[in-house]
């Protein structure tokens, strides 16, 4: 059914259609509307049987989900930013134990400096924790990915993180096609756990493992993620047949035929990138877009095949490895057969900075023309940075960085006007 609703509410409804049995909630912007929506459904008796638990921290949220999942219940939670970091120890634990929890991450920057706006630093910080990570491009895809996520998680006995851009998606009112309960039930079978705490068949879970078996247990986690790479495209196809939409899969390609330059990105910025590329195409640029939906497991061979003809690759990223550069770019380089120098990084949208078509077009054109630096921070206020560096040279006690920079930026804007 077509509906004009907020992204968070669309996700809440989709999660409800997946019949979760235990939901844990702890508030953090921009995730709040999702769990509020679910809480209301449980309270009203529309989502039943389901336990909605208001926990005391994100660490508890993930831990309650761990206990619930281990006891055989379909468990769900949602978080963002500081919340994801606060639960990190339990996030790794859920993956290590192979518990099929599904979690929405409403992507938001990480402090300090504290910032509530969107970027991908939160999810990227957990990229190696053993969860499957799927990134939604639109609200429709966000809701669809949740339905696929539960199936994937439970089939493989692995947790799945569905990442959607905070505010840009979570708070946007858009038209979505909400599936029916029958459709979802037909796609998502009931949860049959591989391991369960059951007095009839007592098992120990989470035992101490030493060097004699640790490598094997970890390797099996890798094997499972590789199995996900095989399953995801087929299930996206099955989903397309059942629901009539292309959602999910490993990646989406856009105007890639004959493209010399390929832009790689994740999440909602793909919309702006596609518009930018349309504009460039009109001017005769041979440029295409590769949107990565499945970031973990990393789709190495699919990506290598897709980038086979690309002469230049421009990776637009909403996070970066401090002291290194691009995170997604580093991953792309593992799957690119051309010269690694032809993979360029554009860091954009940090802490919610708008990513404009104009700036993107400039960045892509520089990549095409070979004039781009390997690592570009889009729309960086160089003057403000220089002033901060100068302050540090001039005075030992130069004071708190962010606060001084904020003052400078305020001044700069005043001067500009």
């Amino acid at each position: 059914m077509l509906k004009q609703i907020e992204g968070s509410h669309a996700v809440a409804e989709a999660v409800a259609l997946c019949r979760p049995e235990v939901i844990c909630a702890y508030p953090i912007s921009p995730q709040t509307h999702i769990v509020e929506g679910l809480g209301e459904m449980v309270k009203a008796g529309e989502l039943s049987p389901c336990e909605f638990i208001n926990v005391e921290s994100e660490f508890a949220a993930m831990s309650v989900a761990i206990g619930a999942s281990a006891a055989g219940a379909r468990a769900y939670t949602a978080t963002a930013s500081q919340g994801l970091l606060f639960m990190t120890e339990a996030v790794f634990n859920a993956a290590g134990m192979g518990l099929p929890i599904v979690m929405t991450v409403a992507n938001r920057a990480i402090g300090a400096p504290i910032n509530i706006w969107n970027d991908h630093t939160d999810s990227m910080s957990q990229r190696d924790c053993g969860w499957i990570q799927l990134f939604a491009e639109t609200n429709q895809e966000a809701l669809d990915l949740h339905i696929q996520a539960f199936r994937l998680a439970e089939e493989l006995s692995l947790p799945v993180m569905v990442c959607m851009d905070g505010f840009i998606l979570t708070h946007a009112y858009e038209r979505v096609d909400m599936p029916t309960q029958e459709q979802v039930d037909a796609f998502l079978p009931p949860f049959e756990p591989r391991q369960v705490l059951d007095p009839q068949d007592p098992v120990s879970m989470g035992a101490m493992v030493g060097p004699e078996a640790f490598t094997e247990v970890r390797y099996l986690a890798h094997v499972k993620q590789m199995q996900a790479l095989d399953l995801i495209p087929g299930w996206a196809e099955e989903f397309r047949k059942a629901f009539g939409r292309d959602s999910g899969g490993l990646m989406h390609q856009y105007r890639m035929e004959d493209a010399d330059t390929v832009v790689v990105a994740l999440g909602s910025v793909l919309g702006t990138i596609k518009d930018t590329v349309d504009g460039l195409r009109e001017k005769g640029h041979r440029i295409g877009v590769l949107g990565i939906t499945c970031f973990r497991p990393w789709p190495t061979s699919a990506l290598r095949a897709a980038l086979e003809r690309a002469r230049k690759v421009s990776v637009v990223e909403k996070a970066f490895g401090v002291g290194l550069g691009g995170i997604v770019s580093a991953n792309v380089r593992t799957s690119y057969s051309g010269s690694l120098d032809d993979v360029f990084t554009v860091i954009a949208g940090l802490g919610g900075r708008p990513i404009t078509r104009e700036s993107l077009a400039r960045a892509f054109t520089e990549v095409e023309q070979g004039t781009s630096a390997p690592l570009v921070f889009l729309d960086l206020n160089r003057a403000a940075v220089d002033r901060a560096l100068a302050r540090e040279r001039e005075s030992r006690r130069s004071g708190p960085i962010a606060e001084a920079l904020l003052r400078d930026v305020g001044l700069v804007t005043a001067q500009l006007r």
Binding site: E21, V22, C24, P49, C50, E51, I53, N54, V55, E56, S57, F59, A60, M62, S63, V64, A65, I66, G67, A68, S69, A70, A71, G72, A73, A75, E89, A90, N93, M97, L197, D198, P199, D201, P202, V203, S204, M205, G206, A207, M208, V209, G210, E212, A213
Partner: protein
């Protein structure tokens, strides 16, 4: 059902042993029906109070639930010594997740059971004093506050034993640990610090809070049974001497626990809905020296010369407990 005539009488004490009791009142450990939830073969030190406490507590919970029990366990000695991969001593469905989240994991299990209509299956969570009073305190308080249907058992040996005897907020004053060395002008742990977790649990107004020691195992079992009569959050704090961390002979575990009770150092009581409903009386108060002396963690209080002042302060704390909980027989 036949019963072994077990010799359990603890000579020289006022403790009544099994063989003087009617069958129905005997320890679950004395019957051939006992569950052996924490089976033999684990790697605890000889004389480990925690192993003993856990064996009795979980067996009692198994007995009263007819084996319909799931246990969540914090990181710590109990977890490590019971599950050296690929072996496990646990004969109950058992999960270890992390050091600080056991109460929350148990909440999740209880939620899953409720949603599946399996409320006949009960949930216990267990951890050491560090896992309970320090790192797991947030999750524990949350579980209490929501009144989740979990019995949480803390095995208090007064330090982080598994990592080599470091101070926790349950370490008693003056005790030597690896991080409160017996050196300087005030050797050992500082006075005026630490948490009284049973009191904090009571302040949450949860249905049932109790303390116990491994010297009174029938009392311990009775408290587990009583705890299982309630729904909602329950807390059992068991004093479990640790020969390694306390530095006493491994044959003295029971004696140390008994002296902790009989000196007033560790008050043994029960509370329902925030009100004390019963205390284990002391028939003859023993001076704290008797409890302190056999333990190397207090050796600096007695040599090279007795530290009368510190011993007096410890005695004053014991006396205060005795007054506060009316522990003496005639009070």
């Amino acid at each position: 059902m036949s019963f072994q005539p077990v010799k359990f009488y603890q000579t020289g004490t006022f403790t009544v042993g099994n063989r003087l009791l009617p069958d129905g009142e005997r320890s679950v450990q004395s019957t051939v029906r006992r569950h052996n939830s924490l089976n033999s073969g684990h790697r605890a030190c000889q004389g480990c109070g925690e192993a003993l406490g856990a064996r009795y507590a979980i067996d009692a919970a198994m007995e009263v639930t007819g084996g319909q029990l799931i246990a969540a366990n914090a990181t710590g000695c109990l977890e490590v010594f019971s599950t050296p991969y690929p072996e496990t001593s646990w004969q109950v469905p058992w999960i270890h997740s992390l050091f600080g989240n056991t109460a929350a994991v148990a909440t999740g299990i209880a939620a899953a059971l409720r949603v599946k209509g399996r409320e006949d299956v009960r949930v216990v969570a267990q951890g050491g004093d560090g896992g309970t009073t320090d790192i797991g305190f947030g999750c524990l308080s949350g579980m209490f506050e929501r009144n989740d249907d979990v019995l949480y058992i803390c095995y208090d040996n007064g330090a982080y034993m598994n990592t080599g005897v470091q101070r926790s907020s349950a370490t008693p004053p003056a005790a030597r640990t690896a991080t409160t060395a017996a050196v300087g002008s005030t050797p050992g742990n500082t006075f005026g610090q630490g948490k009284d977790l049973p009191a904090i649990a009571m302040a949450h107004g949860i249905p049932y809070v109790a303390t116990a020691t491994v010297s009174e195992l029938r009392d311990l079992e009775a408290k587990v049974r009583r705890a299982m009569e309630f729904r909602g959050a329950r807390y059992l704090h068991i004093l479990v001497p640790c020969p390694l961390g306390w530095g006493h002979d491994s044959s003295l575990t029971i004696r140390m626990a008994r002296l902790a009770h009989e000196s007033g150092i560790f008050p043994v009581f029960e509370a329902e809905n925030g009100e004390v409903t019963g205390v284990a009386k002391i028939r003859r108060q023993v001076p704290v020296e008797e409890y302190l002396k056999p333990q190397k963690r207090y050796a600096h209080l007695f040599s090279p010369r007795p530290n009368e002042d510190v011993i007096r302060r410890i005695q004053a704390q014991a006396d205060r407990n005795i007054r506060r909980y009316r522990l003496l027989q005639d009070s």
